[in-house]
């Protein structure tokens, strides 16, 4: 078994996040002309967790950043321009990792992208209906909320098999098991990744606190709770959920404080499903047209 506590190795291995191959031709076509359709480009990039991450990270890097942080894909596109976008897309997509199933969470290839897309759509829906956060920010936060899990799975620690075998008999939740066995959990990894990449602190809070939003900084609590709610609803829908998915505790106190009600969340599901099925086919493939 590999060493369990190799936190820095996990973080350093995650230099890019995989993207779905289907969007590359369309993305390149959109970025090669001089009259790119900004809205279409934004939608395309936003559908892919890895690409959205890289675009935002680059836009907020020391080279491109100015006093104003980019918190939306649209802002990042405007800041970067089509040539840089092309470069990011090509390098990200050719360096993809999705050709191999990642280990540790029982995922099939592409599962994290599917699940993150569902969380993003749920978050956007709740943001619009409850006015808890800007819908675009909520969508982006949903896309990037669980990057640490992919990093852990990509690092391919066989110790993750050990975790899988000890939940729920020895540990009630996956988070408890990761902390006890690894010495850190996937949210620590997400936080480190987002900080290293220069993400705004709001997104770092989402990545670090989404499983227990009551502990989030006051200024970020609404968005973090929104992602917490979206995460659990998306888990129930099943798309891309790994073996860990149902082993987490809902934070009822935070949900109530934010004004969530079960009947209203359930009532939103038909519309959420319709939105999800625009992008995810019955066979589980993600499509972007």
């Amino acid at each position: 078994m590999k060493a369990a506590a190799d936190f820095q190795t996990v973080v350093e291995m995650t230099r890019s996040i995989p993207c779905a191959p289907a969007i590359l031709p369309k993305l390149l076509k959109l970025t090669e002309g001089t009259s790119s359709d900004l809205g279409e480009l934004e939608m395309l990039i936003s559908l892919d967790t890895g690409l959205a991450t890289n675009v935002l990270r680059t836009a907020n890097s020391a080279y491109f950043a100015n006093a104003q942080r980019c918190e939306s894909i649209a802002d990042a596109i405007l800041r970067l321009g089509s040539k840089t976008l092309y470069r990011i897309a090509a390098s990200t997509l050719t360096g993809r990792w999705l050709v191999h199933p990642v280990r540790g969470y029982g995922w099939e290839p592409g599962d994290l992208c599917k699940h993150s897309l569902c969380v993003a759509i749920c978050a956007e829906t709740f943001a619009k209906s409850m006015h808890l956060a800007d819908p675009s920010t909520a969508y982006t936060a949903g896309l990037i909320h669980d990057l640490g899990k992919f990093a852990l799975a990509y690092a391919n620690f066989s110790v993750l098999d050990d975790i899988a075998s000890r939940v729920p008999d020895e540990f009630g939740t996956w988070r408890e098991a990761e902390m006890a066995i690894l010495g850190y959990d996937s949210m620590d990894v997400t936080k480190a990744l987002l900080e290293n990449w220069g993400f705004p602190s709001t997104f770092v809070s989402v990545g670090y606190y989404y499983s227990a939003p009551s502990g989030a900084p006051e200024q970020d609590k609404m968005l973090v709770t929104l992602i917490h709610a979206a995460k659990h609803l998306a888990t129930q829908l099943g798309y891309g959920v790994g073996v860990d998915g149902f082993y987490s505790n809902p934070d009822e106190s935070a949900l109530k404080d934010a004004g969530f009600r079960e009947d209203e969340m359930d009532a939103a599901i038909p519309d959420i499903l319709t939105a999800i099925q625009r992008f995810i086919r019955a066979d589980g493939s993600v499509h972007f047209t």
Binding site: T235, G245, F246, P250, E252, L255, F260, M265, I269
Partner: protein
């Protein structure tokens, strides 16, 4: 009882059933499959005599909450199950010969007020199965796992796949 999978011939065609969807077949060489049943329920229907099978992937217990909306009947158990039965009978199945198996209904960890779709779905299915006198021969529900299922219309057997575990038949 769990048996070793010896389930689908390579030449068998598989029809995929999406979320909030129902499909059926009268072709014995066809399988019906649905992916990633979280808290949703996947219900297989099979008339072994006539080799008519159906699969419903319903997401929510009742359409009553959604009266104001244009609904998909197959999204809800209380509208989807009657629709599935009617469709199968119209296709030639005899209701008294249809055997049902039910899968899914995964539940999040203990919560009194949120995210109870899995348990609500199971309760609703039980109620409807009593009302409609369904012959339910297998229950593979609840727990904290995602399930993928595949109905073999030749045999009525269902293969169940869950993350990190070997497949098994019900």
């Amino acid at each position: 009882m769990v048996k070793a999978p010896q389930f689908v011939d390579d030449h068998m065609r598989t029809i995929i059933v999406g979320v909030a969807d129902f499909k059926f077949t009268t072709d014995p060489s066809v399988c019906l499959a649905t992916y990633a049943l979280g808290s949703c329920l996947g219900i297989t229907f099979h008339d072994e005599t006539r080799r008519i099978g159906g699969l419903l992937h319903a997401m929510l217990p009742t359409a009553q909450l959604h009266k104001e909306q244009k609904i998909r009947e197959t999204m809800f158990l209380d509208t989807g199950i009657p629709k599935a039965l009617n469709t199968l009978v119209r296709a030639g199945a005899k209701k008294q010969d249809i055997r049902c198996k039910v899968f899914g209904g995964a539940q999040l960890m203990a919560t009194d007020n949120f995210f109870r779709i899995g348990s609500k779905n199971i309760d609703m299915f039980y109620k409807i199965s009593q009302e409609l006198e369904l012959d339910v021969v297998a229950w593979e529900v609840s727990g904290r796992i995602n399930r993928t299922i595949k109905l073999n219309n030749q045999t009525g057997e269902v293969i169940v796949k869950i993350p990190t575990k070997p497949e098994f038949l019900r």
